[in-house]
C-alpha cells in the first residue's frame, strides 16, 4: 500500500525538534534521522529545512549549540535543550494536544 506523505504544518517542526532534543544532545543529522525514524516517512521533512528552524530556536534561547566530535571523529555542531527550551516544549505540547483534540471533536461531529 502506498502511503501519502503530508507536508509539515508551520510550527510543528519546532515541536518535533524540541521533543527530539529533550532526550539527549544531538547534531543536525542525528536530529533529522531521529525525526525521520519517528514519523516513519508519513511526514515530508526536507533535511535542510531543519537548519533554519534550529538557528531560529537558538536565537530565541530554546536550544544552545557547541562544536564537538561526532561518532566518526569529525567536527560537528551539537544542539541541546536549554531550560527555556524545556518550558517551551511543555507549552507547545499542551497547545498541540488542545488543538488536535479540538480538531478531532469537529471531525467527529460532522
Amino acid at each position: 500500500m502506498r502511503t501519502t506523505r503530508t507536508d509539515l504544518m508551520q510550527g510543528t517542526l519546532e515541536l518535533l525538534i524540541l521533543k527530539t532534543l529533550s532526550r539527549k544532545q544531538m547534531h543536525g543529522y542525528g536530529i533529522a534521522q531521529q525525526i525521520h525514524q519517528a514519523v516513519d516517512d508519513l511526514l515530508k521533512v526536507e533535511d535542510g529545512s531543519l537548519y533554519p528552524a534550529l538557528y531560529r530556536m537558538e536565537e530565541r534561547g530554546w536550544i544552545s549549540s557547541e562544536w564537538g566530535t561526532s561518532e566518526n571523529n569529525r567536527r560537528a555542531k551539537f544542539y541541546k535543550l536549554t531550560k527555556v527550551g524545556h518550558r517551551q516544549l511543555a507549552a507547545q505540547s499542551n497547545n498541540w494536544e488542545r488543538v488536535s483534540r479540538a480538531v478531532m471533536r469537529v471531525l467527529a461531529a460532522t
Partner: protein
Amino acid sequence: MKSLFDLVRRSKHSIADEVDEEFGFHLDMRAREYERRGVSSEKSKAMAEARFGDVEKIRTECIQISSRKSVLIWLLNSVFLLSFVVGFFLRMLVPEVHVHQVGNVMMMIGGLGILLVYVKQAGTRVLNSSSKAFRLGLNNTPPVGFDEQGRTPFDRVRADD
C-alpha cells in the same frame, strides 16, 4: 570605522564557514548512508543534496539568522563597555559622593556584563579545544557529553539499539 567593518566582515566569514562545515557534515553523513545501502558514490552525493533541499537558499537564511545574533552580542558588549567607561569617568571627574556611587554601579554593571559575555564565549572555545585535544590524544579527559571511548550520546544509543 574601518575596524568595525572588518569585525563585521570577519564575523560573517566565520559564520559562513561554520554553516558550510555543518552542512558539509550533514551531506557527507547522508551520502554515506546511501552508500551503505549500495548506491554508488556519485549518486549518493546527488541523492543527499536532493534530500537536503535548496542548499544555497538555506545557507543564506542560516547566515542571516546567525549574523543577527553576532550583531546583538557586539551591541551588548558595546553597551557594557560604555557603562564601564562612563562610570569610571564619573568616579574620577565628579567629586560628589552620590555621583561616585552611580559611577560604581555603572562600572560594576559594565564589568560584570563584559565578564559574562566573555565567559560565555570562552566556554565554547574551551569546549572546542578540549574536544580537539581529546581527539588528537593530547588530553585524556573526554569533553562534556563524551565517554572514555570518545563516543557521543548518539553513538551510545545506536550501540544499545
